[in-house]
């Protein structure tokens, strides 16, 4: 098996494994964000199935603030790694 790729097989495995964890992290971030903003913005009596104007603008601001908290804590953890 000729391997004229600059990366060895082992290095490639590590790249894929890291990429997988990175993706799992993104999926989890998205799910936690979605749940947090649902809890903060949506009244849970469910009088209707549409989002009203107040809920819509709450969602937009909530996503934005959640994002900022992610960045803030990312800086604090001192990692060069961006949250996404």
């Amino acid at each position: 098996m000729a391997n004229n790729n600059p990366q060895s097989g082992l290095e490639k495995e590590q790249i894929f494994s890291m990429a997988e964890k990175e993706m799992e992290y993104r999926v989890e971030l998205f799910n936690k964000l979605t749940n947090a903003c649902f809890n903060k913005c949506i009244e849970n009596r469910y009088k209707e199935s549409e989002l009203n104007m107040g809920e819509n603008s709450c969602i937009d601001r909530c996503v934005s603030k959640y994002w900022q908290v992610t960045n803030l804590i990312g800086q604090l953890l001192g990692s060069g790694r961006p949250p996404m």
């Binding site: 894929f16 998205f30 649902f38 949506i42 549409e50």
Partner: protein, 93 residues
């Protein structure tokens, strides 16, 4: 969640692109099954309070449907905003 959020595959060799793409598919299937489970959990917890009979009454059924629809709409809107932030398209207050 939208596939595009999981990363840009354009500058990979063809063989790795395939493998990465299959990995993303696997994650999406797992994620959608989990989402289904947690949507059921949420709407059950919010809508079903009494256990005097073993079938949902009309009111509980309506509540569950609205809960699920509302969550899906919410989730879609969050997805849009999230994608904007990922592309750095942030606007002032």
């Amino acid at each position: 969640m939208d596939k595009s959020m999981l990363g840009d595959l354009d500058n990979l060799p063809e063989e790795d692109k395939l493998r990465m793409s299959s990995m993303i598919d696997q994650l999406q299937i797992r994620d959608s099954l989990r989402m289904y489970n947690s949507l059921v959990e949420r709407c059950f917890n919010d809508c079903v309070e009494t256990f005097r009979r073993k079938t949902l009454d009309k009111q509980e059924e309506t509540c569950v449907k609205r809960c699920a629809e509302k969550f899906l709409k919410h989730s879609m809107r969050v997805g849009l905003r999230f994608a904007e932030l990922n592309q750095g398209a942030s606007t002032p207050d």
